[in-house]
Structures are given as C-alpha cells and as structure tokens.
Assembly symmetry: C2
Homo-oligomer: 477 residues x 2
C-alpha cells in the first residue's frame, strides 16, 4: 500500500492522467463532450474514459472501472448519476490506498445539497467524507472541473478547444457563467485565459485555496471570481487582501436580492449573505467588484491587456459627440477620475494635425475631431496624447466612418500605441460603436492587444476600475 498524503491543487492542474468516470459514447451528451474536450485540449494528455459497458469512447480505450487503469491518474472526473456517486467514491478511495494516485476529484455529478433535500445534503456529506478520508481533494460537487490552457487540461463539456491563452484565471461557482465568458471572448480574441476552475457546491476546495494557488501562479495576471456564497468569508477576504497587493482580483457577486439568494441556494446551495456587508468587504480587500456582467468581462480582460494608469487624469478623443457625452457622464460619476488638463503647447501641437472644425480642449481634456478625419490624423493625435506626461489614460471614441476602412483604422491606432516605449505606456480604451459592422477593426485591434468596446459606459466603468485599483496599489508601493 502506497503512502498517502493530502492531495495538492497541482494534481488538478498538472495531473499525470485524467480518468473520466461515467464517460458516454453518445454523441450530443455532456458526458461524451467531456471526453472530446479533454482529448481535444491536448492530444498528448493521458485521458482514460471509464464505462463498464464500452471498450472505446472517442477513439480512446475505455476502462471497466477506475482500478483497471494501469497508468497513474491524478485527476478523477466523476460524471455518473448521483445514485452511483458513492460507489465511485469507494473506488477512488480504494485506488488511492492501493496506488497512491487519484487524489484530485472533480465531481461533475449534481443532485446533492443544491437539491434542497435532506437526502441530497447527506449524500454530499458521505461523498466528501469518503474521499477526504484518504487525503483526496474535491472540486464541487455539481461543478465542471478544471481547465488549464497552458497545461492542456479540460474536464468541461463547454470550453472549446483553441481558446486563446492569456493571463486571466477564473474561479467560478457557476460553470455556465465562466464558460459563457470564455466563449464570448474566443472569436474576437477578447480575452486570454490561463485557468478556469468551476467550484459548484464548494464542499471542499474553495475560494481561499484557489486565491492562494493563483497568487503564486506566474502566468496568472488577473484573478476573476463569480461568487454566490462564501464558506469562510472572513478567511477569504483576508487572503484576498494579501493577493490584491500584487495582483488584481475582479469579482461579481450574485444573490444581491432575497429572490436572487433563493436562486443561488437552488443553484449551488449557497447562502448569499447580506449585500451591503459584502460591498464593504470587497472594497476593504481591494477587490474590484463588477456591478454587471459586461463590467466583469471587460474589467477582467483589460487588467490583463493594459498597464495600470499612473494617476487619474484621463482624456477623451472622439469623433462622436453624443456617445462621448454619455461616456464623460459615467467617467466622472464616481469622483475617482478627472479630465486631464491640456497644456497650451499640447493644444498647439494638436491643432497642427486637426481640421479647423475640431474642438480641442472644450471642455479641458476633451477633443472632438469632428467628422472630417483621416487615419493619419488619428495616428498623429493619439501619439501626442500617449506621449504627454500630464495624461494618465485615454478613451478613444468612434463609430469608424464608412470612408475609413477597418484595416486602416486599426492600423492607425495600433501604430500610435506601439510607437510609445513600453515603460511609458498608459491604458488606451477604444470604443468602436457599430457592433458587428466593425467586427474586423475590433478583431484586428484586440489581436494587437488593444481592448475595444461596443458601449461608452462600459469603457468608462473599466477606466474607473483601472484608476481606483491603481490608487489602491500605490498604497503598498
């Protein structure tokens, strides 16, 4: 019998093998898709479907039970019905005692505490007890497991292959919330993902574990969390307060209302807690709390793509006056940001590149280029603003006019940004209003690392978050 110690989180992210118990041969079912995705994310990874009735699934050899897999398997995906969960738990325990592996268990199965029944709650207790009794660690139950794009791990039925890699790691009590984000981002390269951990009912591994783990993960630049309830809120916020001194943590918290709390309870058996208390705790811990889904998406990705601003002096460069009025309304609404002051020399330089109808510094910090614009004009003006030490960040607002092509527009902005030396860079957020009509421009800019937005209010919210977090961080410098 092998010597057994408690499994480490590394066994979820760097397993020597992955067993999928409850794998299905039926195309179109979640339990088949899990096998496809696990195999697809990394053809070299050792994926072992387990199903007593099959010899092969998705062209992989299928095993009758966990014990019959000869290779080491650190990560077990439990995807059977709840009625079979205890027998699988016992197999896991047996394998761990006999071979010393099988320490990381992702319980995809649902039908536990979230059912709101005594039976469901007891079954969850029994399951966790059995696996923990041999030093196993459990994700879930009622979760989607883990994704690690750098290590080629994917136990979900939802995260597509070829998801762009990057610095955002997501910890989520909703698998669907996180995977919607990942899928949203994929086509236009809006987000680069490192890890995704689906927490489900969070009966063992919780936010504290993951915050500690991801804080030390060099390839994670931003930690993004979707929360419903928290096991040990005080402990979690203490850890988060440490993490946010060096890495941004973005959170969205569901269950703000009594009715939302009821839904959360039916979803992951979470007690959502008092919203006002959470609001204060997030702020104190330096966590950036997004108020809606779009703010969560955009804040997470921009913290990965852009540098922090050095101060709160933001300027607006626009060809669209109306949407820019809305942007400014939002930008100044919290009192954290002021419009930058344009020195006379800057205004004189700007005037050289702009048409007579342009409004430069009316009001201060604001430039309306008006409609008579060219790509060269965009590039030159952006360069001046990017180089100016009295400006800490820029929001560029346009609905690219029909007479400037998507490629030309993107090239101009990218050239301006790349002309600035890396250590002098500041956040540049570009609002390209017109939705998919400017999809090509958007994709070009995003691929070059420049974040774009459909709505002015979203860009303003993200700029506020950048400025606030930057001020928070400077307290520890």
């Amino acid at each position: 019998m092998a010597e057994i110690s408690t499994a480490k989180l590394d066994e979820f992210f760097k397993p020597r093998g992955i067993a999928i118990v409850g794998a299905s041969a039926k195309a179109g079912s979640p339990n088949h898709q899990i096998v496809i995705n696990a195999k697809g994310m990394s053809p070299d990874s050792k994926v072992y479907p387990v199903n007593p009735k099959m010899d092969e699934i998705a062209e992989l050899r299928c095993y009758k039970n966990l014990l019959s897999i000869p290779e080491p398997v650190d990560l077990i995906v439990m995807a059977v019905g709840p009625q079979n969960s205890m027998s699988v738990a016992k197999e896991i325990k047996q394998r761990r005692e006999e071979k010393g592996d099988a320490g990381a268990v992702a319980v995809v199965t649902s039908g536990f505490k979230e059912m709101g029944t005594k039976e469901g709650e007891q079954l969850q207790i029994d399951l966790i007890d059995t696996i923990k009794s041999c030093g196993g660690r459990i994700l879930g139950p009622n979760c989607q497991g883990v994704v690690d794009l750098f290590n080629g791990i994917n136990t979900t039925f939802t995260v597509p292959p070829n998801t762009p890699k990057g610095g955002v790691s997501i910890i989520s009590q909703s698998g669907a919330f996180a995977t919607s984000f990942i899928r949203w981002a994929k086509d236009q390269k809006l987000v680069g993902i490192n890890k995704f951990v689906s927490m489900g009912n969070m009966a063992d591994v919780d936010f504290r574990d993951l915050l500690n783990y991801l804080a030390k993960d060099e390839k994670t630049n931003v930690i993004s969390m979707y929360l419903e309830g928290i096991n040990d809120a005080r402990g979690m916020f203490e850890i988060a307060a440490e993490v946010t001194r060096t890495k941004p943590v973005v959170a969205i918290k569901a269950g703000k209302t009594a009715m939302g709390t009821n839904v959360a309870q039916s979803h992951t058996a979470s007690i959502a807690g008092n919203n006002d208390i959470y609001e204060g705790a997030f702020r104190q811990a330096g966590i950036i709390r997004a108020q809606n889904v779009a703010e969560f998406y955009h804040t997470s990705r921009v913290f990965d793509k852009m540098p922090l601003p050095k101060g709160n002096r933001i300027c607006i460069l626009t060809v669209i006056g109306g949407p820019s009025t809305i942007c400014v309304d939002e930008l100044v609404s919290t009192g954290d940001i002021q419009l930058a002051h344009f020195k006379d020399e800057l205004k004189q330089e700007l005037a050289k590149h702009l048409s007579a109808s342009a409004a430069i510094g009316n009001p201060d910090g604001y430039i309306d280029m008006t409609a008579a614009v060219t790509p060269v004009m965009h590039e030159n003006v952006l360069k001046l603003l990017l180089e100016d030490d009295n400006i800490d960040g820029i929001i560029f607002m346009t609905t690219p006019p029909g007479f400037i092509g998507d490629q030309e527009m993107a090239d101009a902005v990218i050239a301006a940004y790349n002309s600035v030396s890396p250590e002098k860079r500041k956040p540049l957020l570009s609002v390209l209003m017109a939705g998919n009509a400017v999809a090509k421009c958007r994709t070009l800019m995003e691929s070059a690392g420049l974040p774009t937005f459909e709505y002015p209010d979203d860009a303003a919210r993200v700029m506020i978050n950048l400025v606030k977090y930057s001020a928070y961080r400077r307290r520890f410098d």
Copy 2:
C-alpha cells in the same frame, strides 16, 4: 412669384427632390458619402448635387447653384463650410421666393452656436432668420439630416444602404449616437428602422415637432430619443405625455453630470439641465428612460418586436444557473416584477418533459433544466410556459451547449413561439450567452422576430421596462 406658406415636416420625409449643396467628388470625404448614400437608398429619388466646380458627382449631374436645378427640390442639404452658409441661405430664400419649393433645409454644416463663440451664435441666428423669413423649416445646424427607409430618403454620410426596415423611429441630438445604433443592428437584424432624424443644435425643428409628427405616423411603433438639452422642456413633456398613451417613447438623456453638461454644450450648444428634475419629468410623461446605451438599444427594439405583457408575473427558464441568479437579482431590483407562481398542474406537465435533475419551481417561477437538455425539451417546455395564463412574460437563459447546434436551438424556440396564437402572445426574451460563438443562433432568432441578448442584466432591464410601460398604458384603457 409663387405663393409661400410655412414648409411642413412632410417635405423632409417625402421631398420631390433633394439638393445637396457642398457635394464633393472626393471619395473618402463625408460630403461625397452623402451623395452616395442619398442615391443608394433609393435610385429613383431625385438627388441633385450642387458644386460650382463639378459637372458630375457619383454619376449624377451636378449643378452650379441651387437656382439652376430645373426640377422641384423640397429638401436642401446644406453641407458647405460655415463661412459659405449665409450665401447658401440667401440662395435658398431666393429659390423659395421664385419657385415655392426648397422649404425643408437640413443644415449639416457645423461651426455655429456649439463653438461657444459670439460669432458662432450670431451666424446661427442670421442663418435661421434668413431661411425662416421665407417660411422654410430647418433641421440643425450641425446635424446629419434625415433618413426615411420607407420613403427612400437618406441625407447622412453614415447610415448604410440595406438597413432593415421596421417600426423604430429615432430622434437624436447626436447623429453618431443614432447611426451607431443603426449600424449595430444591421448585421444581425436586431432592429428595424423607420425614420431617423438628426437634430443637431435644434435651432428650429425640435423634439415637439417630431413627437407630434411621429405620433401620427402609422409605420412608427416606437419613438426613441437621444437628448442633450430641450428647448421648451414643459412643452415637450406635455406632448410626450399625450404620445405615450398610445406609443412607447424611449429616451436616453446625456449631460447627467456637470462635466457631461460641458461636453453637451460643446457638442450641440445644449444646456443639459438638472438631472433629477428630468428624471421626474420622464416618469410623469410615461417616457421610458434608459440608464445606459445598451438599455436604450434593447428597449427600443424589443418594444417594436414583442407585445406588451398583460401583467408583471415573469418566469425564468434556464440551463445556466449562475447567470440566471444575476438576472433574477436585476429583475426584482425595482419592485415592479414578481416571479410567476407555478400551479401544480403546470409543474406536473413540465416534469413530464424534463430530466430528473431539473429544478422546477425552486424557487417559484424558476426552472433550471440543468445540462441534460435537448431541442425537443426546449420546445415543449417553452410551449407550456407560453400557453400558461398565469405567466405574463418569459426570460429564457442559455449558453447554447456545444452538442445542440445553432439551427436546432433557434428552430426549437421559434417553433414554440409561433405555436401560440398571436392574440395570446407574451414577451419572450432570450439570453444567448457566448457572444459571437452563437451568432448564427442569434441571427436566426432575430430574423424570426425573437429578441436575443448577450447579457442577463440587459434582458432583465428590458423586461422591467415592458412591465412598467404596460402598467402605465393600462391606466388609459
């Protein structure tokens, strides 16, 4: 000399001819694009470029001046520099006195009151005086003019041809704001547009005129307004209060903050006014005020696409628990909506179509189908909810799983909706999380008239607006 009376708004929307003064032959310039767009929207419309230096622009005969156009021209687009605006105004006056047409003038030229200079203000006064002295009506200055998709009129350099027709008419003090909306909507058929009127500095024709005009326009189902300031706020709100008894009016008001007000003033010389007073006035007049751009877009289009709900009992059908928690939080946040009560018979029927893991009515009014779903399941469950008289509206939440194709998913939802007899229909809002990854599903549903959303909070806000406006309307039934 022809007899002259004051021009009517019909002359903007149904002109016998359109003259474009300041037309340019230079591809890539706004003043060339205006000619292209005017011609492109309706090849049969009579479009007359005016430019003393050219014989032809965009394959249309070009005239030396306004007076030399032999055919009747009711609509004059003034697109010259501000320094030439007065000489064009005098030509307009002369033509009107000699021929009796040229009564509708869209002044695209900028450089007037919005400059914040005495000269600009005086030039605007002189311009308006000259044109009004012969009974002309003026749009702008500093505007983009008019679009009428049913009458084939387009004086803008931004609205593309083949914009989908529909029941939304937009009145906007920002041309860019409205045309961004139109372009956003075009690809995925998100919005059907009837008219767009760009108000600019609003020195003559204003919101009162347009509200009265569009209230009587049979093809306008929804009036959507972007406002910065209002000339006669009391008069405008009195008219709006009449209009909203029979047609929804959706508004977004920029200049909420002192800084936003400064921008509005530089943009259209508007005095934005006190935000709290506006908030009350909008509510009293029955105008639906959107708090951000996305809410404005979605509310406008959904009022055109969906029937009003008969009450405030809304249910949620989901396969994505986390995002649905966020949706419910937003949905109940204003107190206008309650989750529908499911009768036992309905729950029993629903259970027949769902898997054992589904949560039906936990909490009441909420169904989580969980991941084991099929298209048939969607169709059957939606039919039951659409037929149930105790439910006034439905929000359907999904990130369409990889094992259900976009076409299958869209077909199931569309079939369910179309199975209900038109007089029994209720609003169905579908949140398809995953952005462009489900673009095909989105476009199929939108083309069938079923509104889709990327974010749960947006769908919730729109449902609140539907329920609130429906309650307001019932006061007058």
